[in-house]
C-alpha cells in the first residue's frame, strides 16, 4: 500500500500542523539532559588533560578522596579494559577500545581535554575542589596537529599498534595513517588525455564543530542490584544503552535509557562521552550522578569533523563533457581512527555521470579530539573542493555553471565511482529548478558575486520501531524509538493520521525509554522520516486491517467486504450490506468485545533510502579593504522526495545551509604552538548570528522515493554539502580570485585581495 500517487489525495501529509511537543518547548517545560533529576543525585565532573600528547606516569587521587563530601573518584583503572574490537555502528566504523579510551585515557592522553579522571561530590564546588586535588604526573610527548605533518616520516606517533590498512604487504612500522582507500572506475589517464581543458587544484579545510547549543548532559544511577538507569540527551537512547553495556560490561537488559529532549546534535551526539563515567561514578558512590559539560569541554573534548587536504583534478572537452575526475583526500580523524574518508571519496563526484574517476583517501590520526559524525559526514569537505573546481572549469570553458553540470548530470542509470548505479534521482530536476529561479538571473551590485554549487548525500535507512495504539475513545498514540531532534514527532503522527484517516489532533506522539519500545537506531543519517516513518506507517496499516476485521465482526460480514475510507469502515459495495459507516471511535469502543486492544508495533530494517541532491545559489558582497563578507541572498533547492511537514523540511534545509555558511566564512579550530585549542568558546568559535544572514529561501523539489510509502527521501544532510563551494564561487565572482582554504575569513580574504594586487582604494 503506498500513498505516493496523487498529492491532492493526501489530507494530512503536506500540511503544516503545530508539532506535538511544541507547547512544552515554547514554555520552558521540556526536559533536556541538564534539566533531568534523579532523587538524591550528586555532581560528577571530569578532569581533563592540559597537554596535547603525554604519557600518564601516575594519578594520585587520595587527596581528592579525602575531601569531605567527595563520594567517588574514578580513573581508567575503574573501567573494564576493552580489547580492540572493530564493529560498524550506525554513524560509522567503531572500535570499542578506542571509544573506551576516548571516554577515559588509560596510558596516554592524546589531545587537550582528553579525560583522565572523574569525580562525584555533594556539590559543584566540592567537585571542583576534588578535581584540583587529583595529582596527575605526565611525561609530555611531542605532538602533531596538522594532517600532512602527521603523515610525514618522523612525525610523533599516537598509537604504536596502528599500522596503515589498505596497503599490501601489511606495513611493519606504526603510522598515523590508519587507512588508505581508493575507488576507481574507468581509466582516468585516458580520460585526461582526451581532455581539452584540465583544472588541477589543492584545497584545505579546518575542523569545525557541530556546535549544538545544548552541552552534553546526563544523570545516571547504578542500583545495588545492578540495574542501571540513564537519562541523557542524545541522538539515540538505544545507542547509549549499547555503548554503556559494552564499555562497562553490563547486560543490555539491565540498562534503561530515558531520552531527554535533545538540544541539537547534527551527528555530534551519536557517541557516548559522559554516560559510562556517570554510571561508574554512581556505582562507586551509591548515588545517582549528574554530569553536564561546560561549553569549553564540548569544544575541547567532543567530536568536531575532520579538517582535510583535498587535491582535485578534472578534465573536460571543449564542449563541456567531463572526461576524467581525480582526487586525493587526507582527512583528520582526531586522536583515534575513523574519519569519514569513505563517504568523502564516494560523494565528491556523485552528482555527475562520469566514465573515468579515481579517488584516493587517507584516514589520519593527530592530537585533536576524536572526530564525530557531522551532517553528511565527509561529503561537505570533498564537495567543497570538487564543486569549486567544477566552477573554475565552467569559467575556463566559458560555460554557464548550471549548464556544465546539466551536461554531465547524474541520472537514472549513471554509475558512481563506488560502483552503484543511480536509480530514480532528482538531480536534473534540481538543476532545472535552480536555473529557472529568479535568483539565478537577478542583477548584482558593486563588490557582489554569485556562486552556485551542488551536493549529494546517500541518506540511510536502518533499524527502527514504530507502534500505533488505538485508545477506547478513538484517540491514538503514535509511538517510536527515534529521539525527536527537529520535529519528527509531528511527521510520525502525520503519517499515522493519514493512513488511519483521522485528524492529526486525535493522535499523540510518544517516544518511550529503551525498555518500552523496540530497538531503534540513532536519529541521524537523514533516516528517521524514512525508516521510522516506514515502521509507523506499516503499524498504522496493520491497525487499519484489524479495524476492518473488527467492523466485519460487528456487522457479521466477511472482512473482505469491508473497506476503510476517511477514518471509518464502510461496506465494500452494495452486496456487502447496507450498513452505516463505523468510525474508528465506534470500533475502538467495542474493542474488548471484538478481540481486545487494538494496536500494532512494527520493527523494520529499512533499506534503499533514496539519495538526495541539492543546489545552492549564494550572493555575497565583499569589502575588499577589510575582507568582510556579507551573504546578501541565498537560495537552496533540494529534492526531498515528498515533504511530510514542509515547514520542518524547509527548516532542515535553511539550518544546514547556514551551518555551511559558517563553515565557509568563519568557523575553525585555532591551535597554538603547544597543540592547545585557543578558541574553545562561542565568542571566538564564530557560528553565524542572526544579523549575519538574510532569509534563506528553501525550494522543495519532489521526486518521490518509490521505496517509501509516502515517497520520502532524507533531507537533513544534503543541505550542508553545497554551501562552502557556493560561497567560495560567489567570492570568486565578487573578487575574481579563488580561495583555496576554509574558512574564507576576513584576514585570508584581505590577504588574497592584496596578493591578487587588487586596487586598494586611497592607498
Amino acid at each position: 500500500m503506498t500513498f505516493i500517487g496523487n498529492k491532492s489525495d493526501l489530507r494530512v501529509v503536506g500540511t503544516r500542523p503545530v508539532r506535538p511537543d511544541g507547547v512544552d518547548k515554547v514554555t520552558g517545560r521540556a526536559v533536556y539532559g541538564a534539566d533531568a533529576v534523579l532523587a538524591g543525585q550528586i555532581v560528577g565532573k571530569v578532569l581533563r588533560s592540559p597537554h596535547a600528547h603525554a604519557r600518564i606516569v601516575s594519578i594520585d587521587t587520595s587527596k581528592a578522596m579525602a575531601i569531605k563530601g567527595v563520594r567517588a573518584v574514578i580513573t581508567a583503572a575503574d573501567l573494564p579494559n576493552i580489547p580492540s574490537e572493530e564493529a560498524f555502528v550506525g554513524e560509522g566504523p567503531m572500535n570499542f577500545r578506542d571509544l573506551s579510551l576516548n571516554c577515559m585515557a588509560r596510558t596516554k592522553v592524546l589531545y587537550e581535554g582528553h579525560a583522565v579522571a572523574a569525580v562525584a561530590a555533594m556539590t559543584d564546588a566540592l567537585a571542583d575542589q576534588a578535581l584540583a586535588a587529583i595529582d596527575v604526573k605526565y611525561e609530555v610527548l611531542p605532538h602533531v596537529i596538522d594532517v600532512e605533518e602527521a603523515m610525514a616520516p618522523g612525525a610523533p606517533i599516537l598509537h604504536d599498534d596502528l599500522f596503515t590498512a589498505g596497503i599490501t604487504p601489511k606495513p611493519t612500522t606504526a603510522s598515523n595513517v590508519a587507512k588508505k582507500v581508493r575507488f576507481t572506475i574507468g581509466d582516468v589517464e585516458a580520460g585526461f588525455k582526451a581532455a581539452d581543458v584540465i583544472i588541477e587544484q589543492r584545497y584545505t579545510t579546518a575542523p569545525v564543530h557541530q556546535a549544538y547549543i545544548e552541552p552534553h548532559a546526563c544523570v545516571a544511577a547504578w542500583s545495588a542490584d545492578g540495574q542501571c538507569t540513564v537519562i541523557a540527551s542524545s541522538q539515540g537512547h538505544f545507542m547509549i544503552r549499547s555503548y554503556c553495556a559494552k564499555l562497562l560490561g553490563i547486560d543490555v537488559a539491565a540498562i534503561r535509557v530515558v531520552n531527554a529532549e535533545i538540544g541539537g546534535g547534527f551527528g555530534g551526539k551519536t557517541l557516548v562521552y559522559l554516560e559510562p563515567l556517570a554510571l561508574a561514578l554512581s556505582k562507586k558512590s551509591g548515588r545517582p550522578v549528574k554530569m553536564v559539560m561546560t561549553r569549553e569541554e564540548v569544544f575541547r573534548a567532543t567530536g568536531p569533523t575532520s579538517g582535510a587536504v583535498v587535491e582535485v583534478k578534472i578534465g573536460a572537452t571543449k564542449d563541456g563533457k567531463i572526461t576524467a575526475a581525480q582526487a586525493v583526500m587526507k582527512y583528520q580523524a582526531g586522536a583515534f581512527p575513523g574519519s569519514p574518508i569513505n563517504p568523502g571519496l564516494m560523494c565528491a563526484f556523485a552528482m555527475y555521470d562520469l566514465a573515468n574517476v579515481d579517488v584516493l583517501g587517507y584516514d589520519v590520526v593527530s592530537n585533536r579530539p576524536k572526530v564525530a559524525a557531522y551532517r553528511a559526514p565527509g561529503a561537505p569537505i570533498s564537495s567543497w573542493a570538487a564543486e569549486c573546481a567544477i566552477d573554475d572549469l565552467a569559467l575556463k570553458l566559458g560555460m554557464d555553471p548550471i549548464d556544465l553540470r546539466m551536461k554531465n548530470a547524474a541520472k537514472q542509470g549513471s554509475k558512481t565511482v563506488y560502483g552503484v548505479t543511480h536509480g530514480v534521482i532528482g538531480y536534473e530536476e534540481v538543476l532545472q529548478a535552480a536555473k529557472a529561479h529568479p535568483h539565478w538571473s537577478a542583477p548584482l551590485g558593486k563588490n557582489q558575486g554569485r556562486g552556485f554549487a551542488t551536493g549529494f548525500w546517500f541518506n540511510i535507512g536502518g533499524e527502527s520501531t514504530g507502534a500505533v495504539f488505538v485508545n477506547e475513545d478513538g484517540t491514538v498514540n503514535v509511538v517510536s524509538g527515534s529521539p525527536d531532534i527537529g520535529g519528527s514527532r509531528a511527521s510520525m503522527v502525520m503519517m499515522a493520521a493519514e493512513v488511519l484517516g483521522i485528524s492529526y489532533n486525535k493522535c499523540q506522539a510518544v517516544i518511550p525509554d529503551t525498555s518500552s519500545v523496540g530497538f531503534t537506531h540513532v536519529t541521524g543519517g537523514s533516516r528517521v522520516t524514512y525508516a521510522t516513518g516506514m515502521a509507523v506507517t506499516q503499524a498504522a496499516q496493520a491497525v487499519v486491517e484489524d479495524l476492518k476485521k473488527r467492523a466485519a465482526m460487528i456487522w457479521d460480514i466477511s472482512p473482505e467486504a469491508v473497506e476503510w475510507k476517511d477514518g471509518q469502515a464502510v461496506p465494500a459495495g452494495a452486496n456487502a450490506g447496507g450498513f452505516d459507516p463505523l468510525p474508528l471511535a465506534a470500533i475502538a469502543l467495542k474493542a474488548a468485545k471484538t478481540g481486545g486492544p487494538i494496536g500494532s508495533e512494527i520493527s523494520v530494517n529499512a533499506q534503499g533510502a533514496g539519495p538526495g541532491f541539492g543546489a545552492h545559489i549564494c550572493d555575497i558582497e565583499i569589502d575588499p579593504e577589510t575582507g568582510h563578507a556579507t551573504i546578501v541572498r541565498y537560495t537552496a533547492v533540494q529534492d526531498v522526495g515528498r515533504a511530510i511537514h514542509p515547514s520542518y523540511v524547509e527548516g532542515q534545509i535553511q539550518g544546514g545551509a547556514v551551518q555551511g555558511i559558517g563553515w565557509a566564512l568563519n568557523e575553525e579550530y585555532v591551535y597554538n604552538k603547544k597543540g592547545l585549542m585557543d578558541n574553545a568558546g562561542f565568542l571566538d568559535y564564530r557560528i553565524p548570528v542572526a544579523s549575519d544572514l538574510p532569509m534563506i529561501e528553501a525550494v522543495l523539489v519532489e521526486v518521490p522515493n518509490t521505496r517509501h510509502p509516502f515517497g520520502v527521501r532524507g533531507v537533513g544532510e544534503v543541505p550542508i554539502v553545497p554551501p562552502m563551494a557556493a560561497v567560495g564561487n560567489a567570492i570568486r565572482g565578487a573578487l575574481d580570485l579563488r580561495m583555496f582554504h576554509l574558512p574564507m575569513s576576513p584576514p585570508r580574504l584581505r590577504a588574497a585581495v592584496d596578493a591578487a594586487k587588487m586596487p586598494k582604494a586611497a592607498e
Binding site: E625, T626, G627, D678, D684
Partner: protein, 289 residues
C-alpha cells in the same frame, strides 16, 4: 580554596573603606559581564566582590551638550543609547558603548567595567579618550580626577591604587563644529571582540578645514594608542590627507597574531578604519553649528 565574599555598599565612603580594608584579592563590580566570565573560567579567584550598583548616583546620566555630561560609572550601555542628549552630542561614544556585546550584555555592561577590565580591545575606551573624557576616582586619599587614557597601563592592568574605584565619567562641553565617531572591525556583524577599533574626534573651522583632531586605536597594541593627527589638521580630509592618515594609523600599530587576527591584517585594517571613521566624524562636524 578560599571562599568568596560579596558586599554591596550603599555609599562611596563605605565602598572605599571596604576596598581599603580588604586583605585578599578583591574585585569591584559594576555590570559584571566580564567579571562573571572570569570567575566562571577560574582565571580570576577573588576573595571579595564589591558591587557598586547600590550606590546612589552610580547609575545615571546628567548634564547637557552645553555643560558637558556626567555618566555614573555603572551606567549600562543601554541607558546611554536611550539618552537623546548624549546620543546627539557624542554619537561616537554611544556607538562604541553599544558595540559591547549583545542586547543582553548592553543591559548590564558599563563604561567603568569596560575601562577597568583593561582589555586592549575595549570598544568604549578609544571613543571616550578622543572626546577628552575624564573619570572621577574615589579612594582612601579622597576623590581625584584623571584622563581616561591614564587608567589602562597594560592588558588587565590599571593605574588605580588599592582602595580606589571609578565613580563617574565626564565628557566635556561640546565645542562648536566638533563631532566624534567610532568604528570597529569584527569578522561577524555582532558578538565579536574588536579586531581593530578606532575613535575619532574632529573640530572644523567655518570653511570645513580640520583645526583639531584626536584619533585613538584599540586592539592594535597592549593599550589604546593615539594616532598622530597632524597629517589631517589643516586639511578638508582630501584623498592625500586620507592616505597620510592611513599610513599614520598603521605606523602606531604594534599588534599581536592571535585567534582574532594577524599582525598584518590588524595593521592594514587600522589604516582603513582610521580613514573611514575620520570621514564620518568630519561629515558630522560639518552638519553642526
Amino acid at each position: 580554596m578560599p571562599s568568596l565574599n560579596y558586599v554591596a555598599p550603599t555609599t562611596v565612603s563605605d565602598a572605599v573603606k571596604i576596598l581599603a580594608a580588604a586583605s585578599g584579592p578583591t574585585r569591584v563590580m559594576s555590570g559584571g559581564t566580564d567579571l562573571l566570565v572570569q570567575l566562571r573560567s577560574g582565571r580570576l579567584k577573588p576573595e571579595l566582590i564589591v558591587d557598586t550598583k547600590k550606590i546612589p548616583g552610580i547609575i545615571g546620566i546628567s548634564g547637557s551638550a552645553a555643560e558637558g555630561f556626567t555618566i555614573g560609572a555603572a551606567t549600562s550601555g543601554a541607558l546611554l543609547s536611550e539618552h537623546a542628549g548624549l546620543v546627539a552630542a557624542y554619537p561616537g561614544v554611544v556607538e562604541a558603548t553599544n558595540l559591547i556585546g549583545s542586547t543582553q550584555i548592553q543591559g548590564r555592561a558599563s563604561l567603568a567595567g569596560n575601562l577597568c577590565n583593561a582589555s586592549p580591545a575595549a570598544d568604549s575606551v578609544p571613543a571616550v579618550i578622543v572626546v577628552g573624557g575624564t573619570v572621577t576616582i574615589a579612594g582612601p586619599a579622597g576623590p581625584r580626577t584623571a584622563p581616561v587614557e591614564s587608567i589602562v597601563t597594560g592588558p588587565g592592568r590599571t593605574s588605580l591604587a588599592k582602595g580606589e574605584f571609578i565613580v563617574s565619567f565626564h565628557l566635556p562641553a561640546l565645542k562648536a563644529k566638533t563631532a566624534d565617531a567610532y568604528l570597529r572591525f569584527i569578522p561577524r556583524t555582532e558578538m565579536d571582540i574588536a579586531v581593530v577599533g578606532c575613535g575619532v574626534s574632529v573640530t572644523l573651522d567655518d570653511s570645513g578645514v580640520i583645526t583639531a583632531a584626536k584619533i585613538s586605536l584599540g586592539a592594535v597594541a597592549p593599550t589604546q594608542v593615539m594616532v598622530d593627527a597632524s597629517c589631517i589638521i589643516g586639511t578638508k580630509l582630501d584623498d592625500a590627507a586620507l592616505a597620510k592618515l592611513d599610513a599614520a594609523a598603521r605606523a602606531v600599530c604594534n599588534p599581536i597574531d592571535d585567534k582574532r587576527g594577524t599582525i598584518e591584517f590588524r595593521t592594514k585594517v587600522a589604516g582603513v578604519l582610521a580613514r573611514r571613521t575620520a570621514a564620518i566624524a568630519v561629515a558630522r562636524a560639518q552638519a553642526r553649528a
